[in-house]
């Protein structure tokens, strides 16, 4: 990124380029942010469709819609589409759009790498979808029936679709590492004069930590799946006990990535909340410093407790005790975050526009998910919960409010900024209520299913589990279809609506509200001075 190229880009972009070229070759953080968000929205619908097929199959006992392997394939794809396709790109989209605006930078630090990290994604998504589709063609091999955890030896036995999946994971990993490098370089080097790290907006802080986590753990997953690929095709035996390898090693590699991944999904949404709640409570964020500290603590402890996903593999007493205590301790920083949010609302002057509704919903439901997480951390009790529907309920209560609702809050919060139009508040509220009620009907009964003895990832179940499954599936249909309303609201807002002010919300603070709504194609070409 030399100065000359930047000058060139500037000249070239003086009038925003039009047509396909604008998007294909874009180095503008706003355009790339938009691309990320649109991509995430597409993946959200694909992942959601697979979830709805899963719930439709589980509506009643018996195998009605999909055969067992297709069911397992859907389970695998639902997880990967949602995590790598929807949530991570959506968070990256928010980061691209908002970070330069928030820190007073003209663009991301590495604009051309930004373009690359986005355009890898459609290729990766194609590979991912191919891995799902290939088995349907003659000679396409068996379907991926391993779940997203890809545990060997099962994943060694799957046909060629697994290779597509491995390459998809490689590409997704490269994309998110590039994006992370870009974000860190931007945050460390391009803040407006006077904006020290401890004056940085909370959303930027959460992304700084998230990006570091990504760089630390995604390569390890890439290494793990590479070994899987070698075991499958090049006669190595990293995970084959007969050849001196160890099948449990993969689980350690996977969860070394997999557990911090939870915080990767979670933290950007925590960042969004740290803006939404103060805005609508009309008072500053409670405990900025403790929030930063809590976040660093979560990231640090989160890196070293991965084996709580593997309590049942047969570790020694010392090992499980360590992982149990470590995991329970995570409740301290997370508890502090929740407390800070509640304390921000406390004695505020609250109004309940859609972003705030989502924020309140998150605080309540995420607390619920966090507390069931404490239950799962307790090893003896987890001997029961492990791999049951209780776990499915738990992590959806963590990730839907913790990650997805946070992103929804962010989208509604900044939509007026991006489009220059206020969204339809009434429709958005209807969306919130159908979404949240649908979500709770879907996942709340699954706690009981798990406790009653239903394992996860089964295509067929005994009739004693019917009632709650029926309820859960009905909820899932409401929940799934409610997202069509989201799509409609977003399109409607892009096309028109009440003109948004630069400061779209009465209580909003921060540099992003100083620029126009929608912002000019180039903003902060002169850096603002922070007092």
């Amino acid at each position: 990124m030399t100065t000359t190229t930047m000058t060139h880009d500037e000249a070239h972009h003086d009038h925003a380029p039009t047509g396909l070229k604008r998007w294909l070759f874009s180095t503008n953080h706003k355009d790339i942010g938009t691309l990320y968000l649109l991509f995430a929205l597409t993946m959200l619908f694909l992942g959601g469709a697979s979830a709805m097929v899963i719930r439709a199959e589980l509506f009643l006992p018996g195998i009605q819609l999909v055969d067992p392997d297709l069911y397992n394939n859907l389970v695998t794809n639902h997880a990967l589409l949602m995590i790598f396709g929807a949530v991570m790109p959506a968070a990256a989209g928010l980061a691209n759009w908002m970070i330069p605006l928030m820190i007073g930078a003209p663009d991301m630090a590495l604009p051309r790498m930004n373009n690359l990290s986005f355009w890898i994604l459609p290729a990766a998504a194609t590979m991912l979808i191919l891995s799902f589709v290939v088995p349907f063609f003659p000679g396409g091999g068996t379907q991926i029936n391993t779940g997203w955890t890809l545990y060997p030896p099962l994943s060694i036995k799957v046909g060629m679709s697994m290779d597509f999946l491995i390459f998809a994971i490689h590409l997704l990993g490269i994309s998110s590492i590039l994006a992370s490098i870009n974000i860190i370089v931007t945050l460390l080097n391009m803040r407006a004069p006077g904006m020290t790290l401890m004056k940085m907006p909370m959303f930027c802080w959460t992304w700084l930590v998230t990006a570091f986590l990504l760089i630390l753990v995604v390569p390890v997953l890439a290494g793990g799946v590479t070994m899987l690929l070698f075991d499958r095709h090049f006669g190595t035996s990293f995970f084959d006990a007969a050849g001196g390898g160890d099948p449990v090693l993969f689980q350690h590699l996977f969860w070394f990535f997999g557990h911090p991944e939870v915080y990767i999904l979670l933290l950007p949404s925590i960042g969004v909340l740290s803006h939404v709640i103060p805005t609508f409570a009309r008072k500053p964020l409670f405990g900025y410093k403790s929030m930063v500290g809590a976040m660093l603590a979560v990231a640090t402890i989160g890196m070293v407790v991965w084996a709580h996903h593997q309590y049942t593999i047969g570790m020694s007493l010392g090992a499980v005790t360590y992982f149990m205590v470590g995991t329970i301790l995570i409740s301290i920083p997370v508890g502090l975050m929740i407390f800070n949010f509640i304390a921000t609302m406390w004695r505020g002057s609250m109004t309940f526009e859609t972003p705030m509704l989502f924020a309140v919903g998150i605080v309540l439901m995420f607390t619920f998910g966090g507390l069931s997480g404490v239950m799962l951390a307790v090893v003896p009790a987890d001997m029961q919960y492990h791999d049951s529907m209780f776990v499915v309920a738990h992590f959806h209560y963590v990730l839907m409010p913790g990650a997805v609702f946070g992103l929804f809050a962010g989208v509604f919060y900044w939509l007026p900024k991006w489009t220059g139009h206020m969204y339809d508040e009434k429709l958005a509220k209807i969306f919130f209520w159908t979404n949240v009620i649908g979500f709770n009907i879907t996942f709340f009964p699954q706690h009981f299913l798990g406790l009653a003895g239903m394992p996860r990832r089964i295509v067929d179940y005994n009739a004693i589990f019917t009632e709650f499954n029926v309820l859960s599936s009905i909820g899932a249909m409401i929940f799934g279809l409610s997202h069509l309303l989201l799509l409609y609201i977003v399109i409607k807002t892009i096309r028109g609506g009440k003109k948004a002010k630069n400061r779209s919300w009465e209580g909003a603070k921060g540099l992003e509200w100083e620029v126009g709504s929608p912002p000019e194609f180039h903003t902060w070409t002169t850096a603002p001075q922070i007092k």
Partner: protein, 374 residues
């Protein structure tokens, strides 16, 4: 704004209500079943303890948030307290809150640790009974190491099990009460997990690993569980049924098993030449338990993963090819080798497959043919 608040309140009350309602359902099968051993009871108690603690915390958080949502609203004319974060509370909450949470954590961890030790430290008595539990795709093998008995346990299809579909097996895991039992968990292919909620633990079956769990059953009964680790296509069809009986009944059962095994062995070792009908009858029984899960009772299979046998090239083609695939399996497919079956059993299965569902080859395969094909 009032509208918003009242809907929020409704939602909160609804979810709280559902939760309380849920707890009251404990006896109606939404909670773990009554444990069948003292260790299992400990696990159950720690589950209830953490659930109570977390429920109390949840209620507190909900109460504070609801209070705030009601009173600290702009529509009620509440003015935001801009200095709340600068009060002594604001300055010290980062110490107070973690200290409180730590207290709760400590309560849970201390109790959990006590239970964990009993669960994890398998008793080392000399006369502990060893049972090896091997997960297979998609059935369980139970080896009573001290008695030399092997039990193969497979799910029973819906037409036989009825209401207990996916909760019933052909051969149950028989266990005596009042005796310390140690399970050795391992797998013959992919990962599986042993889970019977009444025994209150779960353990993965990992190829190349032998992991331990233990139980001392304190009541008789039939306890139903199933495989809890995704193990491929028929993961849902791996129930485990434990039948807990008195020691005397268990001893009788052991004797019966030993006699049956000797009879089977004697039968397999006779030099007798079997007739088509004898082999077909034996073959059907074996086929329906061991092969029908994939190839189906009707021989139609479930293509593409499980090819049909009715009219198939292999089941109507050369006998050698048929025997080869049954004995050695087909690499990189779900077809596993069945070479562990004895000559008579393979002869019976192959004869049946070649003479059922319109495969009227008329071939009769004798155990000696299988022997030479190995």
């Amino acid at each position: 704004m009032c509208f918003n608040f009242s809907t929020i309140k409704k939602m909160l009350l609804l979810s709280l209500g559902t939760f309380a309602f849920g707890s009251a359902w404990g006896e109606l099968g939404v909670n773990f079943p009554t444990p069948a051993g003292d260790v299992a009871q400990d696990i159950y108690d720690i589950h209830m303890l953490t659930m109570k603690v977390t429920t109390i915390l949840l209620v507190i958080v909900f109460a504070i948030v609801i209070y705030s949502l009601y009173f600290h609203r702009k529509s009620r004319g509440y003015q935001a307290d801009q200095n709340f974060h600068n009060t002594w509370f604001g300055n010290w909450s980062w110490v107070l809150v973690p200290a409180l949470v730590l207290g709760v954590d400590f309560t849970i961890a201390k109790n959990a640790d006590t239970v964990l030790k009993t669960v994890w430290e398998v008793p080392k008595e000399k006369d502990i009974m060893d049972i090896k539990v091997t997960g297979h795709q998609w059935w369980w093998e139970f080896d009573y190491l001290d008695h030399g008995i092997k039990v193969e346990s497979r799910y029973t299809p819906q037409d036989q099990s009825g209401d207990l579909y996916l909760r019933e097996v052909d051969n149950r895991l028989m266990l005596p009460t009042g005796k310390k039992i140690r399970f050795l968990h391992t797998s013959a292919d992919v990962l599986h997990a042993f889970w019977v909620p009444e025994l209150a633990f779960k353990k993965d079956a990992i190829p190349g690993y032998v992991t331990e769990t233990w139980i001392e059953l304190n009541r008789e009964g039939v306890f139903r569980g199933q495989c809890a680790e995704l193990c491929g296509t028929w993961h849902s069809r791996m129930p485990i049924v434990v039948e807990s009986v008195s020691e005397a009944q268990f001893a009788t059962w052991v004797d019966g098993q030993k006699v049956a095994q000797q009879q089977a062995l004697a039968e397999a070792n006779t030099d007798k030449t079997w007739t088509l009908d004898e082999l077909k009858e034996k073959g059907k029984a074996l086929y329906d338990t061991k092969c029908a899960a994939c190839h189906q009772v009707t021989g139609q299979g479930l293509p593409p993963a499980f090819p049909p046998l009715a009219g198939s090239k292999i089941a109507t083609g050369p006998i050698e090819g048929h025997l080869h695939i049954v004995i050695n399996g087909k690499p990189n497919t779900a077809m596993q080798p069945w070479g562990t079956l004895n000559d008579l059993e393979i002869a019976a299965i192959v004869t049946y497959e070649r003479n059922a569902w319109g495969n009227d080859t008329g071939d009769v395969i004798q155990p000696a043919d299988v022997k030479s094909a190995r």
